[in-house]
Symmetry: C2
Amino acid sequence: MKIKVNRKELVKHINIVQKAISNRTTKQILEGILLIAEDNILTLIASDEKISIKSKLSTIVNKSGKCVVNARLFGEIIRRLQDDVIDITVNQNNMNINAKRSDFNIQVQNEEEFPNLPRMDDGLNFEIDSEDLKDAVRKTTFAVSIDETRINFTGVFMDVNPEEINFVAIDGFRMALKSIKTKTETKTSVIIPARALNELVKIIEEEEKIIKVDLSFNQIKFTLDNAELYSTLIPGEFFKYEGLIRKNHTTVASTNIFELQNALERASLLAKEERANLVKLDVHDSDILITSNSEIGSVKENVESQVDGEGLKIAFNSKYLLEGIKNMTSETLKLNFTDSVNPCIITEEEDPDYIYLVLPVRLAN
Amino acid sequence: MKIKVNRKELVKHINIVQKAISNRTTKQILEGILLIAEDNILTLIASDEKISIKSKLSTIVNKSGKCVVNARLFGEIIRRLQDDVIDITVNQNNMNINAKRSDFNIQVQNEEEFPNLPRMDDGLNFEIDSEDLKDAVRKTTFAVSIDETRINFTGVFMDVNPEEINFVAIDGFRMALKSIKTKTETKTSVIIPARALNELVKIIEEEEKIIKVDLSFNQIKFTLDNAELYSTLIPGEFFKYEGLIRKNHTTVASTNIFELQNALERASLLAKEERANLVKLDVHDSDILITSNSEIGSVKENVESQVDGEGLKIAFNSKYLLEGIKNMTSETLKLNFTDSVNPCIITEEEDPDYIYLVLPVRLAN
């Protein structure tokens, strides 16, 4: 292999594929990036066997070839060089990186051991607007379960219907549901590991418009302008989430997100020291009174609110309320209640296609 | 105690005294800030028994009093409130913090257990320009020893003479020496814990001009406009550092700091994996050739340089070179050598009062 490459472009593409690499891999070959130089294109591929990312850039290829180079070392060298253009030459197990005043020789590995990219035979595919996808990922992945014994709930359920795609995360204490309007002409559903989605949104560029999604029986592939991300799917069933979406509420409190978030964060200063980050909400008239007590002290917070319906007292783990609210982008949200034992459904004013549902904590008294 | 206080001012002063608090203290009282409200002044004091910081702000004191409040909790509450002015009332063991929509009650401790500030009887004192002091601390503390069995070298030696003060740090591999011109009319020397100096520079404000220094037999006190920092001194002798300051050199290489730093950092990418971060310098003609070899590869870096005197080959732990260079502020530095076994003395063009000395690594061949 012999190439002449724009250094900043190469750094960008190393950063993209490096997101697939796991720090905890025990296989040396998976600490590497597979480089393929051919037809004036340099292709980079990295994988942790669950997630694989492939990225391409145009470059001058004087001699085609393949090799696997340690991602961390290669990345640090290329990032720290100061030149605009660098020459990379691979001969057998040696890579020479040459710049004006710098000359590196590092070992590379043979590409044969590197895992192949998954084959996507089944041909189910559709398109998603990139902004919609980023929004759906941001508003759901934080709510997946971290309990590896309930593996189905560590992923986001993507429920694809002809007119809309629902992204759903459930961890037993809350649910986040974001709908995206599309025309997929497809009906299917899969569970996508949260990590794959989180890495995906990091490599979606500003200019990116449409993301193509391909599904096979156990793989998903997202195609961007200059990169592809492959992920294994989580097999198994998901929760029948539609049953949780209650339409009738007895109490609805509208409030400023920023004020509510600040008040909950202050109340949590005392709550977090004690059992389950407990905060109590007393919803009445034109206020939500938030209280929290622990051995170290007590706090009362008053949040101005427009309350329609009956007054209500209800308790929550403040962490679950806060995580949902923090990911909302509107100025105003609605807390929708029926009573003190059923879930609170939180909706935000400027996104009617998002709901965040939190189970209350039942109090003994 | 009953006070009405500007919240942002209070946050600023909490941040100042909190720097004295150790995360590792086992005494509950030392997790606290001693508050003293009297004569429309609120005084805050925190201590880890080695370092104590006292800070003052003007405020409305309706009822004077004292208490000790947990620094972390008090700090987080005050920082997270949104009001301009808050009311703080202490009754026995309860502190009430009241703002427009927030009301906290937290426990406080009795002030009697809180350690007294050290007494500074002996009366040796002088003044230092605050910019000079900050510069001296930044250019020396990084070079102290982290070896607690050589306790004298974990501090910075402050060698006070009538015309100048020398700040010296030595760890057995390198020495950093910064001179400040002053008129102290005093001759003395003390060893100051590096942590005290590092915390001190964090609380020196932009407007601060002159810092007053008081010395007693085992304490040092720095007086700023609105704060005082006390530190215990490290007892014992220091190294006779003057003997290390060589004036005659056989080889002097002048080079751009930025280029040298970048080249060393790149060379260290391979070096750091192996024995002692070893880099070899070949100083000759108009270049410094830096090389490094390890199992994973090799690197050559060429740094343009004006070399006066004989050519020379010498090896270093790149970490020691880099730490010194990174703390220099000039564009150009000089590497002053005599041979491959004696220290390299690094001086920077725009600060003739600073020298950084590094011992070379002796190579077997």
